[in-house]
């Protein structure tokens, strides 16, 4: 049986994330009540797992590290068809950078047991580093292919995948177990169904904290993060705008004149 782990992250809803601001005086995040959603490209990782399960004898485990409300996105993946879910949640995990996140997730995967394939999204919408997949692979001592946009061959121990490059791709053979980070070009994620939601009610989510994972305190969360935020500044490189007014035709005409003045059109 092909054992798949899908790593999914709860991120502030990108549609409202701009409301989160740092107060320059107090250096505290305002509006941190923006709801959490499943990171967009993680849905493609989830979809890839579901499609593999339709083709092969496979078992899908969901893994997420985050605060207790991240429970919801794990549930969402169970409703989509995953078999079991784990949430790594502990105050001690807070403030983790990509390095500490990857380390903790790797510890989680090791504790879950044998696995063949770990699927991640290419990037999270809030961190957006693309580091977590490769760093996790390093901690697990297995190969990684990032930016996968097609799984070409998936039977047997060696898989063949296409991975995105600037203006092209590379065709890669890789030996399992391996980590793959996927792009939005890989597939079109399916939607939740009512029956899926009903079935997911019976599936349980296991929550592990720092003690269950046996992660040393100095390796978790902010303490385990090599990078820290040291300073915060505001920007004021503003320009003075001239708003062009009139009817639609007049506005267009005036704008063309302004553009013509630049000598570029």
């Amino acid at each position: 049986m092909l054992k798949i782990v899908v790593c999914v992250k709860a991120v502030p809803d990108p549609k409202e994330a701009h409301k989160i601001k740092i107060d320059p005086a107090t250096k505290i995040l305002t509006r941190s009540d923006v709801p959490f959603v499943l990171n967009l490209v993680d849905k493609n990782a989830m979809e890839a797992a579901l499609q593999l399960k339709e083709q092969l004898d496979a078992h899908i485990t969901i893994l997420s590290m985050g605060p207790p409300p991240a429970d919801n996105i794990v549930k969402e993946c169970l409703a989509l068809g995953a078999d079991q879910g784990f949430l790594l949640s502990d105050r001690a995990f807070g403030g983790a950078d990509a390095y500490a996140t990857a380390y903790t997730l790797a510890k989680g995967i090791e504790k879950i047991g044998p696995y063949d394939v770990v699927l991640c999204g290419m990037a999270s919408s809030d961190g957006s580093t693309e580091w977590v997949g490769p760093e996790m692979a390093t901690f697990l001592k297995i190969p990684v292919v990032t930016r996968v946009n097609e799984i070409v061959e998936y039977d047997g121990e060696w898989w063949k995948v296409k991975a995105g490059l600037e203006n092209g791709y590379r065709l890669v053979r890789v030996k399992l177990p391996a980590v793959f980070t996927v792009t939005r070009d890989l597939n079109t994620p399916r939607s939740l169904t009512f029956s899926g939601i009903i079935k997911a009610r019976k599936k349980e989510i296991t929550q592990w904290g720092i003690d269950e994972l046996a992660v040393p305190e100095e390796s978790a969360g902010q303490k385990g993060s090599p990078t820290i935020i040291s300073n915060l500044a505001t920007i004021d490189s503003k320009r003075t705008v001239e708003i062009i007014t009139g009817t639609r035709e007049e506005k267009a005409e005036q704008l063309v004149q302004k553009l013509a003045d630049t000598g570029l059109i």
């Binding site: 990108p14 701009h18 989160i20 740092i22 320059p24 967009l40 990509a98 390095y99 990857a102 957006s128 580093t129 693309e130 580091w131 490769p134 390093t138 297995i142 190969p143 990684v144 292919v145 990032t146 930016r147 991975a163 995105g164 490059l165 600037e166 203006n167 092209g168 791709y169 590379r170 065709l171 890669v172 890789v174 391996a178 939005r184 993060s225 090599p226 990078t227 820290i228 935020i229 300073n231 915060l232 505001t234 920007i235 503003k238 320009r239 705008v241 001239e242 708003i243 062009i244 639609r248 035709e249 506005k251 267009a252 005409e253 704008l255 063309v256 553009l259 630049t262 570029l264 059109i265």
Partner: protein, 334 residues
């Protein structure tokens, strides 16, 4: 006695034996950091038959080049590249390691950083040294600029997009030392690259275009997006996108402009149906003239441009295209 800091490294990247511009930009910036740190600039270059190209690295500001020349290194191979760089870094103890934010760099940098047990930053728009000579990565976030540092672990690592730092002045008379690297023979071979395909990019490239038209969520749908694309075509401009436009599937990831996408320096920028969010705007560097078209007069984008039109872009853009065409025809006839 104070310990002499290690060098500032740049992992140079080549594609088909051509050194990428971003690598040269980083070497020139590394030179500035190295002067402040009183240390040297070293480049690592992996490829095949790359002796000639080391000259460019010296001309851009490198003092020393670690050169790996082997058929196995001709293209990026994650396991071999990681192994060589990690081994060398453990030996030489660089203070700082900079890598271009390309598809290779975005994979190689975390592989190296995790093996070295150190921190790595992404998407910075500047790299400076603080009063303790610690590297600060300046990153736009939450409506401000964050400084991220890696206070204890070494090396301090960062990936940087092309265009964040300017084109270096090349001093063709500069030379330096070349140190040959060997390919270690105990490398796991669990990843094999069978083929690398590069297609000619479509449309007008950001590098050459004096005008960039960028579209955002305000396009509404694919039809609205096509109108913005038409505007770009009419102006012979490069077409950029905000992240929501990419997420909606209207635009390719490679056309995303901003902190985690392309950094562009056009002479004229026209932002259509976008809110002027910092993470997008930091992608436009040094534009002479900036224009925004947005249906919300209160949109923050209007605080960041020279000319603004408050209108529904789906209605306004086709009218604008017609006016531009009329103007262009007039130019031809007189």
């Amino acid at each position: 006695m104070k310990k002499q800091p290690g060098s500032v490294w740049v992992i140079a990247e080549q594609i088909d034996c051509r050194i990428l511009d971003v690598s040269l930009q980083l070497i020139a910036h590394a030179r500035k950091l190295a002067i402040e740190l009183e240390t040297s600039v070293e480049a690592v270059l992996l490829g095949d038959k790359m002796n000639e190209q080391t000259r460019q690295l010296f001309a851009a500001g490198a003092d020393r080049v670690y050169l790996g020349n082997a058929p196995d290194l001709a293209h990026y191979q994650p396991e071999i590249y990681t192994e060589i760089i990690v081994k060398l870094a453990k030996e030489r103890q660089p203070e700082i390691v900079l890598i271009g934010s390309t598809s290779m760099g975005r994979e190689l940098a975390p592989l190296v950083a995790a093996r070295l047990g150190t921190g790595l930053t992404a998407h910075c728009i500047d790299l400076v040294l603080d009063e303790n000579k610690i590297l600060e990565s300046i990153i736009p976030a939450y409506g401000g600029l964050l400084s991220i540092i890696c206070p204890e672990k070494r090396p301090q690592m960062a990936t940087i997009a092309a265009g964040v730092f300017p084109k270096p002045e090349m001093d063709e008379n500069r030379t330096g030392e070349i140190i040959a690297l060997e390919v270690p023979d105990d490398i796991p071979r669990r990843i094999q690259t069978l083929e690398i395909i590069r297609e000619k990019p479509q449309g007008v490239s950001f590098e050459s275009a004096p005008i960039v038209v960028a579209g955002g969520a305000g396009a509404g749908d694919l039809e609205g997006w096509r109108k913005i694309a038409d505007l770009a075509e009419t102006l012979n401009a490069a077409l950029g996108a905000t992240r929501p436009a990419v997420d909606e599937g209207w635009a390719e990831l490679e056309t995303m402009v901003g902190q985690s996408g392309k950094i562009v320096s056009p002479e004229l920028y026209i932002g259509v149906g976008l809110s002027g969010e910092l993470q997008h705007m930091v992608g436009i560097v040094g534009a002479k003239v900036m224009v925004a078209i947005n249906n919300d007069a209160k949109s923050p984008v209007f605080e960041q441009v020279d000319y603004g039109v408050v209108d529904d872009c789906r209605e306004f853009v086709p009218v604008l295209i017609n006016k531009i065409k009329e103007y262009q025809e007039k130019l031809v006839t007189c």
